[in-house]
């Protein structure tokens, strides 16, 4: 990979995608699924894996075709490529992991409309070679997954009393913790997301980063 992409560039892409320009923290992209799937950690993990795959594969494919794709139809092409990868994941889940496919219901299909994938395609893959685009997609997806999992790890115990479906001693004991039903409902995701972004930005300010 070093012949195609030097280490400093790779490190810059990874750091930027995972943290500095994290799609949710910095760009507040893709929050629809943040609201939808983060009430259970297990569902979030599978949804994130599907999204990481779709973002990385789409970015690499779009980058590979960038010199042949006419500019005026590029968004149609991008949508079709993204949709193809998402359908592939959906079909594989139905065939090989039907229980999870049922749990996630329509949300896997909705990855097609996730702003992060199209955002990375437009902002990066369209004008960069395959390997950097793949890395950008991969780590943008991972950065997004990190935030979603953080939110899920907060919401599931507080709302359901469990973590990965396993009851937690404090949160599943009705005498110690009265389950916050709102945490498993969409408003709970809004509150948690806002709190997490606030922490991220405060942390950035403490380190002397500029505000957006």
């Amino acid at each position: 990979m070093t012949a195609i992409l030097d280490t400093a560039e790779a490190r810059d892409i990874i750091g930027r995608s995972l943290w500095r320009d994290n799609p949710i923290f910095r760009q507040v992209l893709g929050i629809c699924s943040t609201l939808a799937v983060t009430n259970l950690v297990a569902n979030t993990m599978v949804m994130c894996s599907a999204l990481v795959f779709a973002t990385a594969a789409s970015s690499a494919t779009i980058a590979a075709l960038r010199n042949y794709t006419p500019r005026k139809i590029r968004m149609m092409v991008e949508t079709m490529i993204i949709a193809s990868y998402v359908i592939l994941v959906d079909q594989l889940l139905k065939g090989y992991w039907p229980e999870m496919s049922r749990n996630l219901g329509p949300y896997v299909g909705l990855i097609i409309t996730n702003c992060i994938i199209m955002g990375r395609a437009e902002a990066f893959a369209n004008s960069n070679p395959v390997v950097p685009s793949f890395l950008d997609g991969l780590f943008s997806g991972l950065g997004y997954s990190f935030v979603l999992l953080t939110i899920a790890v907060i919401r599931e115990p507080m709302g359901m009393g469990t973590l990965m479906g396993i009851p937690l001693p404090l949160f599943s004991n009705p005498e110690l913790w009265d389950k916050w039903i709102i945490m498993v409902m969409p408003p709970g995701a809004f509150f948690t997301l806002a709190g997490v972004i606030w922490l991220y930005r405060s942390f950035g300010l403490m380190r002397g980063e500029k505000t957006a």
Binding site: V37, P70, M76, Q91, E99, G105, I181
Partner: protein, 239 residues
């Protein structure tokens, strides 16, 4: 060449053909497996609701065991509604009399169709279990109806009340009466709609209204697929 007016059209056409072709190949390759998964999931729902496979082994029991238990059943259609087809399963005892019933219920949930099976003892009133094999409710909220610990366990041992409301849903935390089950907290609409169609259909099953005057004969599950289209003579019975 990219400047030619026909280039975008041909490019899009070729790209679409390539990606669609790949997806068609994948769909064909997984078709049998997906269909089998769907059928097995429904069989599993039936045998678990009827108590033939214990709840704790409901999702882990091997496919062969599920199929073997399912093969013991007889069935007859309860409805010819194409959107909400329903079937009654019966486990015949040694004397041919039903030992346990599996009554399918199906109706409109909050977002879309919901379908499940209510297992009922030979006495025709004691619920032995309930499962859902189709639902599109909100994950973490209405979809909690599929969880045994949060919802389904409260049905076990309840008795169908006489009248139009065999089972009543009450708020979590209150003391349960013999005909009451807990609703899903945070999913009032799902609980209300489920209670509505479940009660109508259980009452119909109990009073025999659903099968009209000439109920279609029961037949072993191996003879005609209970999840397929209705056989012609069963269809006639509903007309």
């Amino acid at each position: 060449m990219r400047d030619k007016p026909w280039y975008p059209v041909v490019y899009m056409f070729v790209l679409t053909a390539v990606f669609s072709g790949a997806l068609v190949v994948l769909a064909r390759a997984t078709e049998t497996r997906v269909e089998r998964n769907e059928k097995l999931f429904r069989m599993r729902a039936v045998v678990v609701a009827m108590g033939l496979i214990p709840e704790e082994r409901g999702t882990t029991a091997p496919a062969a065991e599920v199929e073997a238990e399912f093969e013991r059943l007889s069935w007859r259609p309860l409805s010819d509604d194409p959107r909400y087809p329903r079937v009654e399963f019966v486990l015949p005892g040694p004397d041919g009399e039903p030992e346990v019933y599996g009554v399918e219920i199906s109706g409109q949930g909050f977002w879309d169709k919901m379908s499940g099976v209510v297992g009922i003892d030979a006495d025709g009133e004691t619920v032995v279990g309930v499962t859902f094999f189709e639902q599109y409710e909100t994950p973490g909220l209405g979809a909690e109806v599929t969880r045994f610990d949060r919802f389904r366990q409260h049905f076990v041992g309840r008795k169908l009340a006489p009248g139009e409301r065999p089972l009543t849903m009450v708020a979590e935390g209150t003391e349960l009466g013999p005909h009451e089950v807990y609703a899903v907290t945070g999913a009032t609409q799902t609980s209300t709609r489920l209670a509505r169609f479940m009660n109508v259909q259980l009452d119909q099953w109990r009073t025999g209204l659903a099968v009209r005057e000439q109920p279609p004969a029961r037949r072993p599950v191996g003879e005609v697929d209970p999840f397929g289209p209705l056989p012609a003579e069963a269809q006639e019975a509903f007309e």
